[in-house]
């Protein structure tokens, strides 16, 4: 067998490793091993890539490759190890964006090497696809990162004739791409790449903070497709398989996520969610005239201590305050007193589906105390207290009762059915979706303002005294 055949066999092995890795990631029991298997497969494939003579042909290039890899690893490992669990979505956005950027660069370099002066061939179409999608993924992820990191407003950014302008830019890109295809001009390719970067930005701007995770999932899928395109360009089976696996599964995952919010993907991407609400006013809560009932930690502590069934509904506020450990402490304390306690987890609680489960797992909350929304809702009517910790949109009855509301149709946790509702909130500010929550003004509702962790700690003390 030739060297190339051996390398191809190793690539096949790596591809199988990736498939098994994705399969493992689908079950809680095998997920970690699945991920490790994926990493091992990747390491193997990368190591054998150095067996290609072309990679070792020029010493300078080889040294630069190794230098770039060392720098990359030296930056990535500490960043990934130190990132807070709450900042995970941003981190995924960055790692996704750089992957898209790498795929775009691969396509650009291939074009520069091969294309100039040549007529249109199918390879060039793949190259252009890689450049376009890779660039959109790169700049889109950057904006998604900025939104989640709160470097810029999480609200949708809209401007007049937005859809028209975006459409014009998209058409212009197609035009440029065709031009590049026909002429093989590097200048046109650069223009295509730059305009694709612009498209990534304007595509993400009108998407509100609450929807950004869905968007990251979509961009993840895009990067996969860009990688697959690079695979076509480089005649590399492994890149095609890995990229396509991610591209296909990513699109499905994206659909599952938007479904969890009761909306279609098109609605998430193009409806400028939340801007409607700003128009109806009250989005900043300033003009609010209705009164809310606030309680002391002691009152609420007594309410909880003598309840039969308490449902804790965690949201992003709990995540930001890093209050998952204190929440578990409170739950354990209540359970010791014989109170029936469980956590009701909305599919999009936190900022990514499953995000809240990750955080609570970090606090060693046992699985059997976590109930998914569908499992929790039938029990809400028999709950004495629904303790909403830093959540808002996921319990907003407007999703059921107000057809005009932007979140109408989104499945929610029926906190309103509990006998008492307690909100731990930092302020009257509305949630991510930017809309008011009538439940806050309900007679059954008591509010305790403050940082989720502080409030929970106060409740722990109050329950101990009760």
């Amino acid at each position: 067998m030739t060297l190339n055949t051996w390398i191809d066999l190793v690539y096949l092995l790596a591809a199988v490793g990736f498939i098994l890795a994705l399969k493992g990631l689908g079950s809680p029991k095998h997920a970690r091993n699945g991920n490790l298997l994926g990493a091992a497969a990747a390491a193997l494939a990368v190591a054998f890539t150095f067996a290609y003579p072309v990679v070792r042909a020029h010493t300078l290039n080889l040294v630069l490759t190794l230098v770039a890899m060392v720098i990359g690893a030296a930056v990535a490992v500490p960043a990934a190890r130190k990132v807070k669990m709450t900042a995970m979505p941003q981190m995924v956005a960055i790692f996704n964006g750089v992957g898209g950027g790498a795929a775009a660069l691969v396509s650009i370099v291939v074009f520069v090497i091969e294309a100039p002066g040549k007529p249109a061939v199918y390879r060039i179409a793949e190259v252009l696809f890689g450049v376009l999608v890779g660039c959109v993924s790169f700049s889109g992820s950057a904006i998604a990162f900025a939104k989640l990191q709160e470097l810029m407003t999480g609200r949708p950014i809209t401007y007049p004739a937005q859809q028209v302008i975006n459409a014009v830019i998209a058409v212009a890109i197609v035009g440029l791409a065709v031009g590049t295809l026909i002429t093989g001009s590097v200048a046109l390719l650069v223009a295509t790449a730059l305009l694709s970067l612009v498209l990534g930005v304007i595509f993400v701007l009108p998407i509100g903070g609450a929807d950004v995770p869905v968007l990251i999932s979509l961009l993840n899928s895009f990067t996969g497709l860009a990688v697959a395109a690079s695979g076509f360009t480089l005649n590399n089976n492994l890149l095609i398989i890995a990229g396509t696996l991610v591209g296909a599964s990513g699109i499905l995952l994206t659909r599952m996520m938007s479904k969890a919010m009761g909306r279609s993907l098109t609605n998430v991407l193009f409806s400028a969610f939340g801007s409607v609400v700003t128009a109806t006013g009250g989005a900043d809560g300033a003009g609010e005239t209705r009164t809310v009932k606030t309680g002391t930690a002691e009152d609420i502590g007594v309410l909880l201590a003598y309840a039969r069934k308490v449902v804790i509904i965690p949201g992003y506020g709990l995540a930001v305050a890093q209050a998952q450990h204190t929440a578990r402490e409170l739950a354990d304390l209540l359970m010791e007193r014989g109170v029936d306690v469980f956590y009701a987890i909305h599919p999009v609680a936190g900022r990514m589906p499953g995000h809240m489960n990750v955080l609570l797992a970090e606090a060693n909350v046992p699985y059997d105390e976590l109930k998914e929304m569908d499992e929790a809702n039938p029990e809400m009517a028999t709950a004495d207290v629904a303790l909403v910790v830093g959540a808002n949109d996921t319990v907003n009855p407007a999703a059921k009762n107000t057809p005009g509301s932007p979140i109408f149709g989104m499945p929610i946790i029926n906190a309103d059915e509990a006998e008492h509702i307690v909100f731990l909130k930092r302020s009257m500010r509305p949630g991510f979706a930017g809309i008011d929550n009538d439940l806050l003004f309900d007679d059954k509702t008591t509010l305790l303002f403050g940082d989720a962790k502080d409030s929970l700690a106060k409740l722990v003390a109050a329950v101990k005294d009760a």
């Binding site: 990679v55 990934a80 190890r81 990132v83 750089v98 199918y122 296909a248 995952l253 589906p353």
Partner: protein, 114 residues
Amino acid sequence: MSTGILEFLTIFVLAAFVGIELINAVPSILHTPLMSGSNAIHGIILVGTILIMGGAHGTAQITLAFFAVLLATLNIVGGFVVTDRMLEMFKAKPAERPAKKPDASGDETDGGST
């Protein structure tokens, strides 16, 4: 159309079906690690960037390829490490039930690493 592209197209189509089938049965609690894990997998573009660097000539091409390798390494290394960190937490299975301790001061408890 050459037979080469048809072969690659076959692989592409089959891989797409496999990707869809793999995701179908994932419980929602694993959506975040799954997104992160698949994000790491497309970091395999690193292989492509290494090949590109091998064939690059001149400052412009080499510079672009250098950044390509750098970005791809960030993607693949960071992706797998971050996913492992997420999944590490799922490992503390309910078996020994570390909860139920009233003094559970929380923060640093890492739950019996098994």
